[in-house]
């Protein structure tokens, strides 16, 4: 059997550590929103640590900067996997009260966790499913039961989406800090790590001589 050192040399899984936060959202016209997130990943992926799902606090717009709803909701999760297929996606769904105080969905969105190590910022355009008819729209507005996806994870999959009609609604900004372990050892070269374009070289800033 392989000793510890041998296992080090030939890892059988790679790890993907994602931390970061759901920073803020822009939902013009809506307020008091909260956000749910969950990760969707393929069959070869297993979360090893951290929260797979979470729900944020309700945030209100500030009077000073009325455009963004800040959650700053941390995400921290580590996956292990044997196969990059089914790379994790974070699925966000934002909810908030409507005119009558019913809790309705304000947006769904999903984005893949970046696969290059480093800090990444993503702005996700959010959308909600549309009512199938004007009457439906009216009644759903009245009853506060807007159409929702049967499962927020629907937005992370492509299958069957053609039957839905959605309307875009707002943005959510997420920042990711991504670390990978053993990915390159296993032959998956995702990082142009030896990309050292002169523009990015350490001395490229130049000496400013005045």
């Amino acid at each position: 059997m392989a000793t510890g050192a041998a296992a080090m040399a030939a890892p059988s899984v790679f790890l993907l550590a994602v931390s970061g936060e759901i920073e803020s959202g822009q939902f013009p016209g809506f307020d008091d929103l909260y956000c749910k997130f969950c990760f969707v990943y393929g069959q070869d992926w297993v979360p090893t640590a951290g929260l797979e799902e979470g729900i944020s606090q309700i945030t209100s717009k500030s009077d000073v900067s009325p455009t963004t709803l800040v959650w700053n909701f941390p995400i921290d999760i580590t996956f292990k996997s044997t196969n990059p297929f089914g790379w994790p996606q974070i699925v966000l769904s934002v909810y908030g009260p409507d005119f009558f105080g019913h809790d309705v969905v304000r947006g769904y969105g999903a984005v893949h966790v970046p696969f290059t190590p480093g800090r990444h910022r993503r702005t996700i355009a959010m959308f909600v499913p549309e009512s199938t008819s004007m009457l439906q729209q009216f009644t759903s507005w009245l009853t506060g039961r807007r159409p929702e996806f049967t499962d927020p994870k629907v937005v992370a999959q492509g299958e069957g989406r053609e039957v839905t009609r959605v309307r875009s609604q707002g943005f959510v900004t997420i920042s990711f800090n991504v670390m990978t372990k053993d990915l390159k050892k296993l032959g998956y070269d995702v990082t142009p790590s030896d990309l050292q374009s002169p523009s990015l070289g350490p001395g490229a800033q130049g000496l400013h001589k005045y």
Binding site: A10, S12, V13, F14, Q43, D44, W45, V46, S81, T82, N83, F85, P129, S131, T132, S133, L135, Q136, T139, S140, T143, R145, P147, E148, F149, T150, D151, K153, V154, E159, G160, R161, E162, V163, T164, L186, P192, D194, L195, Q196, S197, P198, S199, G201, P202, G203, A204, Q205, G206, L207, H208, K209, Y210
Partner: protein, 1576 residues
């Protein structure tokens, strides 16, 4: 048309303007009025109803006309004379147009001329002129048959000439009459016809007709009565006015002269032999129209080419195809389809900025020094700046020239040469020919040098002059504008020269030049003289010849005199002798030249000096525009971006542009690079104020040579310029805008923003003094390395590189090392080329790119376990569907993973008799498996078709009523006193994982649990545990026999039952209750785990697990061995005795969402040590209903938490052989029914095993039950019915939902069912129904809802005016009013020829009327409107049964017994399992008896017998009866009883199996399990 007479006359008085216009229109209509009536009255033409007084008007007309004609004639002749004098002849071109001459040509001409005269004044009159001519032509045409009328020329003249009398006459008449409007209009029309010559005749006509109509239709009587003053407009005025804005291009050809600029002859390029190309075809008339139109425009002539035609590109359409034909190399394959495989090539260019592994050689450094920026022009330059820049430029030039000092150099050279010439001439006395040679060369040189020097001198002088001129300009500008912008000052330093010496030198120079020139001219003269002489010679000889010829001619007159004449004509000129150059002339020339380009002797040498010491006028003193300019400049700043390989790497700081338009940066950028740079670029940006920066220009900097190192490079100035156009509103001259220094605005100049960047680029030097320069070889990465390293080109030539064979040959000869990686590319190329040539693909590849994407070869792909696993998983193969974490390495995948799968694949065809113990059943199982797979495959496809409802949860539209209710609900109390169960939220199965789903089993109570009998107690009178069929229906329910034994009331503990629920091997139990009617009311929670962790709908549907609800009796045995301890402690042993069980499949729960009801506990026919007690006294209230049924009951509530959404059936339309009409009717029927009763299922069509839609009545047909069964009880048809029902129930139950994963209900026909020996309720029900029909009963199929099955099928029979409901899967029957009947709802009844849907208010069998003849209660499918079409049954004519095979049954029996015994021992791993043979044999003997009696009425005998035989054993055990399908359920059943779990040390076991065979291999299995504990 009530025109008065007067109006008529007015018309006649008019010299026929209408006659000019109207007849034309009328005549062309041909068949209308003009043809119908003689045209005697022109006025009448317009009047639709004939006027009565035509004759009179005719006379009046004539007289007037006559008079007029005479006048006209007189006037005309006068005019003619004058005209013909003025314009002697009209242009012949015009005449051309008038074809078909007639005697009136002359008049035509006249009128033409007449008009022409007017038009001559203006050139633009051309088109009307033409028009007019046309009109005349038409009129003339008409006039041939209108002799009575004033002819056209008369009419025309009437309008054009002024003859006062007639005019006045007319006018006076017109003034009086109200009909004049018409005349005006007629006049107008006349004009129009003149104007509209170009128009189509029809439209012309239409216009008139419409006008006429309008004229008369819109007119009421009053209109004619009203008197109005005449509005007479002068026709010519009108014409003139209209000419101003109307233009109708003529269709006639425009003369070439008009299209060409003046005094230009058309030039035909084609005639000159130039290719002009074919013009696209445009019809001549259109072309003419266009030309006429264009000519009207101001600059129309620009549109015409040299040849007088409109400019046009040649026709772009080519006559022949230009695509070259493709010739195939291979025959047989169309060349276009031939595919050539090319291996994917890694693009090197994309990678060149990356460092491949291994060739990273450290960072290199490039230093870019950007010192500053100088604008040579800037939009903010004032005029003075422009001049200053010019001056500075000139001065720079001057300095540069001065530095080079070419003039001096050339002068020196000239002197030297002259000296040399002098020397050689002096030394020529030696007569050396070489010297002679060199002298002439020197002379040539001298001449050349002198010319150059002169040119340079002239340039110098010009430069100086220009500098001075610009300076003067600047000075004057400064004076003019009264301020200075630039500190520039030009000083002209005079350098006094010695007058004497200077003059001398000057003179000497001139003299020398003159001398040289003289020499030169002399040489030339001599040369020319020579030429002259030879020429003269020639001429003389020619002359002589000429003379001799003449003489000859005189002698004989030659025939070819003409040719001779030719010679005479060419009189040869006598050559003129060349002139000798005069010295004076030359001298003059030289002096003139010297004057112009050389400083005059004695004149001081002027040395300009440009200094920047001048004062710039402070801003306050400047005029406003200048202040604005300066402010603008101050706002501006510039910066430079450094771009490396087109990527911005750094930028300078933004510096303001100084007032002298210089920007100083002085920054050095150190670029650390890895590869040889591809390009270096500077981008100059200008920012203005706060606004964004604009790119002014880009400057490419050459990449420095490797020798250029930092520290040793001078600054270079690189010029740039921008083509940006800037206009400013202040003094700034702008850029790209023309401006002038002159007051009159002449001499315009346009300057573009331009400037110079001073910079330097060099390679840095490293610490150790090593220049940091990347290897230069990296520059040419594009060349394949193999070809680069070995010079193949040199050896075989360039063409050889394309010829693979040659290349291969060369490679072989050169003995290239094929293993050298450098040669790899080449070797591969050669290999591919040579081997590939032989192969001709004999297939057409559809996905020719597929190969590119194959990351491994197919063999490897198939070999690899990992890929296989991945593939199977993505193919959703059952075993791997949810396989998690496919290992990354091949070695981590064990072969075992595939074993099951492979085994299954193999077993598909191999019949495994071991598992099934029965060949037939094995075959059937295989068959079922195949059907299942094909259905599942179909389902898998359908699964990926999503509906909106699958993805989006949307509330249904609320109808108005519900909406109102909803509003009403708002007023409801929040917490009502009587709360109602709310529907739970359903959860989709996708996002679930293990542990999320729980099965909730609520055990409420049980009734009639068997009670213990003490061994010693006497046998009680058996309770009424069963009823005979006859009793039930024939007799009214008799009162129960008073069975209550006197002693039970005193018996403290009859039974201590508890319930144990086991599901997926998880066991939960309730507390122990007491008594035969216990009340637990406990909720048990069992976790649910889906197979493979796959919680998708279809996987859940396929869960085969069942929930076992077992009822046990807890028996406490006094375990104290020693009586002495009895006082001090309690030692009891708990035993539990299985009393019965209820099995509920998970799928039922899944589909039903909840199961709520009272179920009959499946109690074995014999429970040793227990008896059924009827405790009438205690439950009086239930007696009346209870006593009808036997057995124990348990009330349960089962549900899944959270509630799962059951999958939907496949939305797929199955093909069918049914009539389309019938299907439509069925659909309509179903829709009608479900709209009324949405909860009731209406079934009209079902799907058969082949996946085809079949109408349901086709399944019902009388069929013969096995004769054996009928023979067994020949007389009693009721017993026979029971027997048949039992037979049907013995056929194993296999729900479709399990086998076909809830896709659809597949109905098999009865013979299929009997062959498969497996089916669900429908098949059982159909078979039973058919049997009953075959036995002559009245039977129907009930589609309804039962517990626990859910939607199911039962059978209804009519027995002696009572309806009996049969449960086909258990063989039980119930009366209509039996409360414990599991059938809860009845939806429809089906017979062989009709379907009845229950439209009664209730659907519970107790409350409905089964009389199908009442249409109020039952809606039938086939009715009078749609009669039964006589659908043939799909059932077979007759069922053929195999006879029961006793021997096989016995063999099976012993095998099962052995298996079960092994299993029990297996379940008791820690304790020994002893088998009591004696008991076993007793039991074995007893089992056939049970079968015979069908489990009834045997208990007591049996008990007694057992008791007798076993004596002192305490026996607890029971027989289990099951239909046989396979071994596994039997094992499960035995396990669920928990007999094996008894852990008394001295326990013994007994197990007996009996299989009773029925026809068609239906087997009834009895298993008797018992545990024996020796008493005492």
């Amino acid at each position: 048309m009530n025109c008065s007479e007067e109006s008529q006359t007015t018309i006649t008085e008019l010299p026929e303007p209408a006659g000019v216009a109207e007849p034309r229109a009328q005549l062309r209509t041909g068949g209308t009025m003009a043809a119908a009536r003689p045209r005697d009255a022109p006025g009448a033409l317009r009047e639709l109803p004939p006027v009565p007084s035509t004759s009179r008007t005719g006379i009046a007309e004539l007289s007037v006309r006559q008079r007029m004609r005479e006048k006209l004639k007189a006037a005309k002749s006068k005019a003619e004379i004058t005209l013909s004098q003025e314009y002697p002849s009209p242009q012949p071109r015009r005449l051309k147009g008038v074809r078909g001459r007639n005697p009136e040509v002359r008049l035509d001409k006249v009128s033409d001329n007449d008009k022409f005269r007017e038009m001559r004044e203006d050139e633009t009159h051309l088109p009307p002129k033409v028009k007019f001519r046309d009109s005349v032509k038409k009129l003339k045409h008409k006039s041939t048959f209108q002799n009575d009328f004033p002819s056209e020329e008369e009419a025309y003249n009437f309008f054009t000439f002024n003859f006062d009398a007639g005019r006045e006459n007319m006018k006076s008449g017109a003034r009086k009459r109200n009909g004049l409007n018409e005349e005006d209009e007629a006049e107008g029309e006349c004009v129009e016809t003149h104007e509209d010559e170009q128009e189509e005749d029809e439209t012309d006509e239409d216009v008139h007709l419409i006008k006429d109509e309008d004229l008369f239709m819109g007119r009421t009587d009053e209109d004619f009565v009203v008197m109005k003053p005449a509005e007479c407009e002068n026709y010519s005025e009108q014409l003139k006015r209209e000419k101003e804005f109307l233009f109708i291009p003529s269709m006639l050809t425009v003369p070439v002269s008009e299209k060409m600029p003046e005094n230009m002859q058309p030039r035909y390029l084609e005639d000159e032999g130039l290719y002009t190309g074919e013009r696209p075809f445009v019809s001549q008339s259109n072309q003419n129209i266009l030309e006429n139109r264009i000519l009207r425009q101001e600059q129309g002539k620009e549109w015409f080419g040299d040849d007088g035609k409109i400019l046009a590109l040649p026709n772009p359409i080519k006559q022949s195809p230009t695509r070259p034909p493709i010739f195939s190399l291979e025959e047989g394959i169309a060349p276009e389809l031939e595919t050539v495989y090319r291996k994917a090539i890694k693009m090197t260019s994309a990678n060149q900025y990356f460092v491949g592994p291994g060739d990273f050689q450290g960072l290199f450094q490039l230093d870019i020094d950007i010192s500053g920026l100088i604008f040579t022009h800037h939009p903010c330059f004032s005029r003075e700046h422009v001049l200053a820049a010019k001056l500075a430029q000139l001065y720079d030039q001057y300095l540069a020239r001065k530095q080079k000092n070419l003039t001096k150099l050339l002068t020196d050279k000239l002197h030297a040469l002259r000296n040399a010439v002098q020397c050689s001439i002096e030394g020529a006395g030696d007569g050396v020919p070489v010297a002679q040679q060199s002298i002439s060369e020197y002379k040539m040189e001298v001449r050349e040098t002198r010319r150059l020097r002169d040119a340079e001198q002239e340039k110098d002088r010009m430069l100086l002059k220009t500098i001075i001129k610009v300076w003067k300009q600047m000075k004057s500008l400064r004076d003019f504008q009264k301020f200075t912008n630039t500190p520039m000052k030009l000083y002209l330093r005079k350098e006094e020269v010695d007058q004497q010496s200077d003059e001398k030198a000057y003179e000497a120079e001139i003299q020398a030049e003159i001398k040289e020139l003289l020499e030169e001219y002399m040489e030339e003269y001599e040369k020319k003289m020579e030429e002259y002489k030879t020429e003269l010679q020639d001429w003389k000889s020619w002359k002589k010849m000429q003379k001799s010829k003449k003489k000859k001619k005189k002698k004989d007159i030659n025939e070819d005199e003409e040719s001779e004449d030719y010679d005479f004509d060419e009189e040869r000129i006598k050559p003129i002798p060349p002139k000798t150059a005069s010295r004076l002339e030359i001298e003059q020339q030289v002096r003139e030249k010297a004057d112009s380009c050389r400083r005059k002797p004695g004149e001081p040498v002027l040395i300009p000096e440009l200094v920047l010491s001048g004062n710039v006028t402070p801003t306050e003193e400047c005029p406003r525009a200048e202040v604005l300019r300066r402010e603008d400049v101050k706002k501006r700043s510039a910066f430079i971006k450094v771009l490396f390989n087109s990527k911005e790497v750094s930028r300078t700081v933004t510096r303001p542009i100084s007032s002298d338009f210089r920007v100083h940066f002085g920054q050095i950028f150190n670029l650390q690079i890895i590869n040889w740079p591809e390009s270096l670029k500077l981008q100059i940006y200008e920012t203005m104020g706060m606004s964004s920066s604009t790119l002014l220009a880009e400057v490419f900097i050459p990449v420095p040579e490797t020798a250029v190192l930092t520290g040793s490079t001078p600054l270079e100035e690189i010029e740039f310029s921008s083509n940006q156009r800037v206009m400013l509103d202040h003094e700034g001259v702008g850029s790209g805008v023309s401006f002038s220094f002159e007051a009159d605005g002449s001499n315009k100049m346009t300057l573009m923003t331009s400037g110079k960047v001073s910079n330097s680029v060099s390679w840095a030097v490293g610490e150790k003094g090593i220049p940091l320069i990347p290897p230069i070889s990296q520059q040419n990465t594009g060349i394949p390395s193999a070809l680069k390293n070995i010079d193949a080109i040199a050896s075989i030539g360039t063409s050889g590189l394309t010829d693979m064979k040659k290349l291969a040959k060369w490679a072989a000869e050169a003995k290239l090392d094929p293993n050298d990686p450098n040669n790899a590319a080449l070797m591969q190329l050669i290999m591919v080329a040579t081997s590939g040539e032989a192969q001709v693909p004999d297939f057409f590849r559809l996905e020719q790119l597929q190969q590119e994407f194959n990351f491994v070869s197919d063999e490897e792909f198939n070999r690899s376990k990992r890929f296989r696993l991945l593939r199977l998983r993505s193919g959703e193969v059952a075993e791997f569907r949810n396989y998690k974490q496919v290992p990354l390495h091949e070695r981590e995948i064990s072969e075992k993973i595939f074993q099951d799968y492979e085994k299954r694949l193999q077993e598909r065809d191999v019949i495994d008799s071991k598992n099934y113990l029965d060949a037939h059943r094995a075959i059937v199982a295989n068959y079922l498996q195949k059907v299942r797979e094909s259905v599942i495959n179909r389902f898998l496809i359908a699964k990926h078709h999503f509906l909106l409802s699958d993805l989006v949860n949307e509330e249904d539209i609320l109808s108005l009523g519900i909406l109102g209710l909803g509003l009403f609900k708002l007023a409801e109390p929040k917490r009502p006193l009587r709360p109602r169960r709310k529907e739970r939220k359903k959860v989709t199965a996708q996002n679930l994982s293990d542990g999320d789903i729980k099965l909730l089993v609520n055990i409420i109570r049980a009734y009639d649990i068997p009670v213990r009998k003490t061994v010693m107690s006497k046998l009680q009178q058996p309770s009424k545990s069963s009823r005979s069929f006859n009793e039930m229906f024939a007799a009214s329910p008799s009162a129960q026999s008073p069975a209550s034994s006197p002693d039970w009331a005193f018996n403290q503990v009859l039974v201590r039952p508890f319930v144990e629920v086991s599901f997926q091997r998880t066991v939960c139990r309730t507390t122990t209750a007491e008594g035969p009617n216990p009340n637990w009311n406990e909720e048990l929670e069992l976790p649910f785990r889906a197979p493979n962790g796959d919680y998708s709908t279809h996987s859940l549907q396929a869960v085969k697990d069942e929930v076992f609800i077992n009822v046990f009796d807890e028996v406490l045995h006094d375990a104290v061995e020693d009586d002495r301890e009895r006082g001090s402690g309690i030692h009891t042993r708990i035993e539990r005795h299985w009393l019965g069980c209820v099995k509920i499949p998970f799928t039922t729960i899944y589909f039903q969402a909840r199961i709520d009801g009272t179920f009959k506990v499946n109690i074995p026919p014999v429970l040793l040590g227990y008896s059924k007690e009827k405790n009438l006294g205690m439950e009086r209230g239930y007696d009346s209903v209870r006593n009808l049924s036997e057995g124990s009951y348990i009330t349960l509530f089962i549900t899944i938490e959270p509630q799962l959404i059951p999958g939907e059936s496949v939305r797929e339309k199955f093909d069918t052989q049914e009539d389309e009409k019938l299907l439509q009717a069925a659909e309509k029927y179903e829709a009608e029914c479900t709209s009324k009763f949405p909860s009731r299922q209406c079934l009209t069509t079902v799907i058969d095993l082949d996946g085809k839609t079949v109408f349901i009545t086709r399944y019902i047909k009388p069929l013969n039950p096995p004769q054996e069964l009928l023979d067994a009880v020949p007389n009693r048809s009721h017993t026979a019915a029971e027997l048949v029902a039992r037979y049907v129930a013995l056929i194993p139950f296999l729900p479709d939902t399990v086998s076909f994963a809830g896709i659809c209900d597949l109905w098999s026909t009865s013979d299929q069912f009997l062959y498969l020996l497996a089916g669900d309720e429908e098949e059982h029900a159909v078979l039973l129904c058919n049997y009953f029909l075959g036995m002559g009963k009245k039977a129907w199929l009930i589609i309804g809802n039962a517990i626990p099955e859910g939607p199911t099928a039962y059978v209804l029979t009519l027995e002696q005016s009572q309806y009996v409901i049969w449960n086909p899967s258990t063989g039980c029957f119930y009366g209509q009013y039996d409360t414990f009947c599991p059938l809860q709802n009845v939806y429809c009844l089906i017979s062989s020829d009709n379907i009845w849907f229950n439209i009664q208010e209730y659907d519970s069998p107790v409350r409905i009327n089964f009389d199908i003849s009442k249409p109020k209660h039952w809606k039938s499918f086939f009715s009078r409107s749609l009669p039964f079409p006589g659908l043939s049954s799909i059932q077979p004519e007759e069922l053929v049964y195999q006879h029961s095979d006793k021997a096989a049954a016995e063999e099976l029996q012993s095998r099962i017994e052995k298996i079960l015994k092994d299993k029990i021992m297996e379940w008791r791993p820690t304790r020994p399992t002893r088998w009591n043979r004696y008991c076993t044999s007793t039991l074995r003997n007893f089992l056939p008896l049970l079968e015979q009696n069908q489990g009834k009425d045997v208990e007591d005998d049996h008990q007694a017998e057992l008791q007798k035989q076993l004596g002192d054993y305490r026996v607890s055990g029971f027989p289990i009866h099951m239909p046989y399908s396979e071994v596994r359920p039997l094992i499960e059943a035995v396990h669920s009883t928990g007999v094996h779990s008894i852990d008394v040390s001295n326990v013994e076991f007994a197990l007996a199996v009996y299989i009773h065979p029925y026809p068609q291999n239906v087997l009834s299995v009895w298993i008797y399990v018992a545990s024996l504990v020796r008493n005492g």
